[in-house]
Symmetry: C2
Subunit: 372 residues, 2 copies
């Protein structure tokens, strides 16, 4: 159907998988279910929650009590950072998502010293830069596994090895990474945050996986839920949906990654027929993300023309949208303001097809030529 | 159907209303929907969110930017309390829910001074006690509108009048109150917290209503969602469900309250045929809650026997369940340990019927006689 809208903004959110929806019905269509209740109804709910937690734990090759179900990737990140013992020194990069960046800024205002490592046109901090930045009072290294705007990946294994050797916890924002490629496993990784709706799960639920060796204070206090790490009645439907989405990933992650990479490479090759195109990020990129400068074209105008033509993309992170400034991430990479302002992010999802890529390429070529 | 289980634990959680489920489908069965996205898909989501927020605002007779959608009642309470300027003096009662109690304890450990007002057998702090407790550095009065375990209500209008006169913000935990009776409206009330699943909405979503005059720091930082008061992609399905549940309440609150009160009075009258019964809380109680001591009977045994017979009740707050100690609330009221340990909470919901009450009364009478 050539009239159907094309959604290439899967880093903002994704279509809910029908299997995920079905898993959520166990709670949404079930009897009243508070997993903390001791009676029959509560026990049914508790069993569902326990199984979901075990399933999440096995996804992370972790123990059940190392999984905290939260309400979002952002909450997971806040918990991971604000839960640290206050003070000391933190290492991060200059291009983190606002959930990490603003939270670290707020810790900095409270007295923590912070190294914001440069990333340059490469698009990710290099392992040796991190190694050199470690100080005796470094409490943690906090980085995203892949940048949500450019898709550039850090060298997770090398950085995890450094973290392990130096005895500094490595805390990873995996929100834009999970669902696209297999998460790395390394004893040097102390925590990982993910968000359900970025991989065809529900909005309103996330996970903080943190090793039991990493001591964190809770962000939200009250009842004894989540091993006393996160108070409040559990979002059971959301948790069942999220863990079903993880199960689907476990079974199909490699195929999904190949499919996404196929779409991205096809797209990027197709773009080459247009002149004055630049794809941001020299470092290895995740399977699904292209951040493209259409030189000489105003990105906002192109964005709007594409939207009118039925192609949904993004000018940056959805969480930063509405900002009149060019992308902080691109500016921090040292990209000229004008180039940054001519850039759009295309992020593919597993529901996208090659046919959509081809159709979008035609529309893009048409509009870009018109605007130039 | 006499074999059906009876659920009298509606203060722990409630059955999802089918109309609420239907409202959630607008997101769960819809296209990818991140309200922060600027494109067509995002605008559809943003419109749903804006309408939901307006509907919630009108429920509280508030402005849209005074509504913060959160992930739970507990998160709302944490935000309301931890968002205050640190230090100073807080007034609360000795019988608050753990979400309030533990959070205030944690503020106390950080240097805030706290007055925990006594409640006695009445079951709620009296307005004049509150008036006398106000000091020059009192930052807020934080109380639950009704106690979740006993149902005893505070005199909200009198306390709000004192708060207004003295210029001290009154912050209300309305989690166990909303859905049972109409929320009070008074300019002296500066904030109110509610939780969707306590009134037939979904789990995983709550509201903090706070007047724009009350300055709060956010608990969760990152993107600009919720007027920069609460970062993270919005739980749109949950929010649509919660606001539908509020709409149902607006239209039927008085009938619901009358129905619940009818069930409770019928139940309490029926209990009178048993000897040595005591209903806790001398103060006016909310329509749906009876906390009953069966003197000479071990509460835990009675609880389990009732559960086996298909009647689900509670020994206290679900958030405190698993604790071996008798209810902190009952102990703080000055009730003897043995009496507290013989007590069970019955909390009715709008899905309960008179027939269920009668059937439960028979079962209770049978078991209590056997245990005595």
């Amino acid at each position: 159907m050539t009239n159907q809208r094309i959604y290439f903004d899967n880093n903002a959110t994704t279509l809910l998988d029908p299997r995920v929806f079905k898993a959520m019905l166990k709670d949404l269509s079930g009897p009243p279910a508070n997993p903390s209740s001791v009676h029959w109804f509560g026990q049914q709910a508790k069993n569902l929650l326990m199984n979901a937690r075990q399933s999440a734990a096995s996804f992370f090759q972790a123990k059940s009590d190392e999984i905290v179900f939260t309400s979002s990737g952002t909450e997971s990140l806040n918990m991971m950072l604000r839960g640290l013992k206050p003070g000391g020194h933190l290492i991060t990069s200059a291009i983190e998502h606002s959930a990490m960046y603003k939270t670290i800024r707020s810790l900095e205002a409270g007295g923590t010293t912070v190294s914001y490592l440069p990333v340059g046109l490469w698009g990710a901090p290099l392992p040796q830069t991190i190694d050199c930045a470690i100080k005796p009072d470094t409490r943690a290294i906090a980085l995203s596994l892949s940048n949500g705007e450019t898709g550039v990946k850090i060298d997770a294994m090398a950085i995890a090895e450094i973290a392990k050797k130096q005895g500094v916890p490595l805390l990873l924002d995996c929100v834009s990474y999970a669902g696209k490629e297999r998460l790395p496993v390394h004893p040097g990784i102390s925590a990982m945050c993910i968000s359900g709706h970025k991989f065809h799960g529900p909005k309103g639920v996330g996970i903080l996986f943190r090793r039991s060796s990493l001591k964190l204070n809770p962000l939200i206090t009250g009842g004894n839920q989540e091993y006393q790490m996160r108070a409040g009645t559990e979002n059971l439907a959301g948790i069942l949906g999220l863990t079903e989405a993880l199960k689907i990933l476990s079974e199909t992650q490699d195929e999904i990654a190949a499919h996404l990479l196929g779409l991205r490479l096809h797209f990027e090759k197709g773009l080459m027929s247009l002149s004055d195109i630049r794809i941001h990020g020299e470092g290895p990129r995740i399977s699904n993300t292209s951040n493209v400068a259409f030189l000489g074209v105003d990105g906002e105008t192109l964005f709007m023309q594409l939207d009118l033509a039925g192609v949904a993309v993004s000018q940056g992170s959805a969480c930063s949208s509405g900002a009149l400034e060019p992308s902080r991430v691109l500016m921090q990479m040292g990209i000229e303001k004008k180039v940054a302002q001519s850039s759009l992010r295309f992020s593919f999802g597993r529901t996208n097809t090659q046919e959509e890529v081809e159709r979008a390429l035609e529309i893009i070529a048409h509009i870009v030529k018109k605007l130039r």
